[in-house]
Amino acid sequence: MKVLYFAWLRLRMGVAEETVPLPSEVTTVGGLLTFLQGRSDQHATALADLSVVRVAVNQDYARDADPVSDEDEVALFPPVTGG
């Protein structure tokens, strides 16, 4: 799975994107976030406060219960501040 990071999440992760081998037991957005938090200390720190992390799956906003699969493009970013 391709995971993209934007804004301060990108800086805290140190990369704009990474390819993550998705374990078969991870099937939802919420499960993916928990899995990502456990990947490294850097992941855990960057994703410590999920109240300021928004998730998009295939470029649409997603909630914790929404499904994810290995072919999806997932993006993690702070609440948006455009306009």
């Binding site: 993209l4 934007f6 804004a7 301060w8 998009a56 470029q59 649409d60 906003y61 993006a75 970013f77 702070p78 609440p79 948006v80 501040t81 455009g82 306009g83």
Partner: protein
Amino acid sequence: MIRVQEEDIDIGAELAALTARNHRIGGIATFIGAMRDLSNGKTVAAMTLEHYPGMTEKQLHAIEREAQARWDLEASLIIHRYGRFQPGDRIVFVATAAPHRQAALDSCAFLIDWVKTKAPFWKLEETGDGARWVDAQDSDEVATARWRDTAK
């Protein structure tokens, strides 16, 4: 129509193109968002707008479709810029054209409210204390929410 671009927006040319040869249009509403030199009491020298290419276009298209479904519009346009800005620079341009003014005015306000909370852009401000990411405003969520139950 939607567009995401780095270059400045030529308001006159965009409006002329949007409304050319359509004589059913009776009212045109526009909104232009510009960069201010003050943010949370701090002077801001410059700002960088980052976005998510692909998702930005997808979300802007969805927002525009929603406006077209809710109001009787002849034409609509959202242009959002990205890159580095200085105070006074134009950031976003929204225009709606309809047979009557109320649809144009309401849909224009709807579009900018939704753009602010749904389009994936992030502002990085440069102040005397260094660079800082702008926090999302609760007031923007409130502005978006007021359209939730608005029928056509």
